[in-house]
Each structure stands twice: as C-alpha cells, then as structure tokens.
C-alpha cells in the first residue's frame, strides 16, 4: 500500500524553526494534509519526539522517531529509528560528539522542548546548529546498530549535502535512499545526475514553519503503515 509521508520536519526545538512548530500543530497540519507518516527530525536532538509520537497516535498518524544529524563533514543526515529508546540512545551518542557551546538565542533562535499538550517543559541550552564530531561512516555504523535508517538529506542543495561537501555518494555504506528537497523534481534531478539512478529517492519538506509541510504528494510503497513498515521499505 501507499503511505504518504513527510519525513523531514523541524519542531521548535530546532533553533531555526518557528516557535509555532509545536507537536500538536505539526501533527494537526499533517492530518489536515492527509499524510500517513511523518518524522520530526530536529538538528542533533530528539527531545520532542516523544510528544510528537503521542500526538500522532491520537490523530491516527504514524510518527517515526528521528533526528537530523550534522556529521563532521558538515553533511546533514536524516536518521530514523524503530522506537523512542533507539532515537534517545543515538541522541546520547550525538550529544557527546557536540561541541560544548551554549546556544545564542539572539542569533540562532530558541530551542524549545515541549510535552504532548504543547506545554514548554524546557529550553535546550547547548548549541545544536553545528557539526558533531561524528563522521558519516560513524553515523551509519551507530544508527545501523540501533536498527535505524540513514538517508543523506537534501542532496540537491549546495550546502550541507553529501554531494556538495563530499563530491560523490560513497558506495560502501549501503545507501539505498537519498532525500531531495521539496522543490526538487526527482526526474529533472536524475536527468542532470544520471549516475545517481541506482538510488531510490524520498522527497520531504525540511519544514521550519507549518505552511511548508508536504502536501499529500510524496508516497512510498509499504507493507503496512507503521514505523516498522516504513523502515523496512527504506532498507530495501
């Protein structure tokens, strides 16, 4: 069956995202748009995943625990996990690899942690909008050990993309899927980059505000609409 998705959404915990990106707002917007599966993937952190999962469950939407990790090569990687335990284990690995710098809210924005009722339960002090010390290879290794899937993010962009920063997609990491950004047409992208035709693609929004979530237009074939069903398809 088809699952309509948006697997790259930032909540208010990402400093660059609007504060209106609360768990309920995100889930309700996804519901209005008719999406089946979403993933909130904040920069180097996963502390709003639990609230998003609870909200999504109430709306009958599947939310996948995830985060967008910035590797030491300054490449953004979407990482999706089978459960909250796994994403929080990954977060702990990522946190140890982040520089010990405090966020500057006046420059980068607030990093807000919320519960399932959109109550603010904390402000995350550590600077999130920066590279971790983890290499791409280490992100694949650690996320893989936790049963996660790693997808190079927005590879059509000129910054923070595996192609811009590393020139070519490494062939030894078992990469199956690449992500292109919302405005990118996969067919056009492939006609100018035919060497990438061996890969499958997902197209997600990278939304930092509510209006930017995907319409019901990106879909993936899954055996069932569940976290496991989605991750299995992404591993194929």
């Amino acid at each position: 069956m088809k699952a309509y998705y948006d697997l790259h959404i930032h909540s208010a915990l990402s400093p660059c995202a609007d504060n209106e990106m609360t768990p309920n707002n995100i889930v309700n917007m996804a519901y209005i748009k008719g999406l089946d599966v979403i993933a909130v993937t904040d920069h180097n952190v996963a502390l709003n995943c639990e609230a998003v999962l609870k909200c999504a469950k109430n709306r009958g939407i599947v939310a996948v625990p995830g985060m967008e990790i910035e590797t030491k090569e300054e490449v953004h990687m979407l990482c999706l996990f089978p459960g909250l335990d796994e994403v929080l284990k990954m977060q702990s690995i990522v946190n140890k690899a982040l520089p010990k710098m405090e966020n500057r809210e006046d420059i980068f924005g607030q990093q807000i942690i919320m519960d399932e009722d959109d109550n603010v339960i904390g402000n995350y002090n550590q600077m999130l909008l920066t590279a971790t010390g983890l290499s791409i290879d280490e992100v694949f290794e650690k996320a893989g050990q936790l049963g996660g899937v790693v997808i190079p993010a927005h590879i059509d962009r000129d910054s923070f993309s595996i192609i811009s920063n590393l020139g070519i997609v490494p062939d030894y990491l078992g990469i199956k899927y690449l992500e292109v950004s919302k405005a990118c047409l996969v067919s056009d992208f492939l006609s100018s980059n035919p060497y990438l035709s061996q890969y499958s693609f997902i197209r997600s929004s990278d939304a930092h505000n509510l209006g930017d979530l995907m319409e019901k237009e990106s879909s993936i074939e899954v055996r069932e609409i569940s976290i496991r069903g989605l991750l299995d398809s992404l591993k194929k």
């Binding site: 192609i163 590393l166 020139g167 490494p170 030894y172």
Partner: protein, 113 residues
C-alpha cells in the same frame, strides 16, 4: 618541485606509505567543498583540506592532484590512509593552518622558479 621535497621543506609528516612522493607539484589549491574541488582544482595541485573522509582520495584521483595536505594535525581515518596507499596518493599532515602552509608554499615554490 617534487612532493617529497615539498614535504621536507615544510616539515610535514607523510601519513601514507610513501608512494606518489615523486610527483611534481604545479600549484596549491585550498578548499573544503569536495564538489567544488572536483570542478575547480587543477592537475598537479597540492590540495589542502580539513576533510579526512575516504572521498578525498577519489577526488584527488579524479582531478589528478599531486597530493593531499591535512592541516592543524587533524587525524586521518585509517580507511582513508588505506585507500590512499592502494591508489598511490600521498597524504601529508602539518601542524600549521592552511593559511600558514600556503604562505610557506608560496615562498618555497617561488624560490624555485
């Protein structure tokens, strides 16, 4: 100037197994966006980059760069060194910054010509 002489003059450590040190240097290129290096560096350049990922070897081969220089004593992954050894691309490491290496390189390459 050969890479081996260049490495000696700037007191750089050769982290690979010594292959490729006889290549001639024709210039220096500094950039950390590998896609940019692929399309803008020139054959025979010494390439200074903070990247240590395996792909630097592929880029060096593709552009036919003379060698790779990693500044500021950044550790190079074993996988990268292994690949560089297989492909005969020398990787040099320096404690200096890219700027300091470039300034010295300009001096010694300038003295030669």
């Amino acid at each position: 100037m050969k890479i081996s002489e260049f490495a000696d003059s700037l007191q750089m450590k050769v982290v690979t197994d010594g292959k490729g040190l006889d290549r001639e240097i024709s210039g220096v290129y500094i950039c950390d966006l590998l896609s940019w290096v692929m399309s803008h560096a020139n054959k025979g350049d010494v390439w200074i980059t903070v990247h240590t990922h395996l792909n630097i070897v592929a880029v060096a081969l593709l552009v036919e760069l003379a060698c790779i220089v990693v500044p500021e004593d950044i550790q190079v992954e074993e996988a990268t060194i292994k690949k560089a050894n297989e492909e005969g691309i020398a990787i040099l490491r320096s404690g200096k910054t890219s700027y300091e290496i470039a300034v010295e390189a300009n001096r010694i390459i300038g003295e030669e010509t």
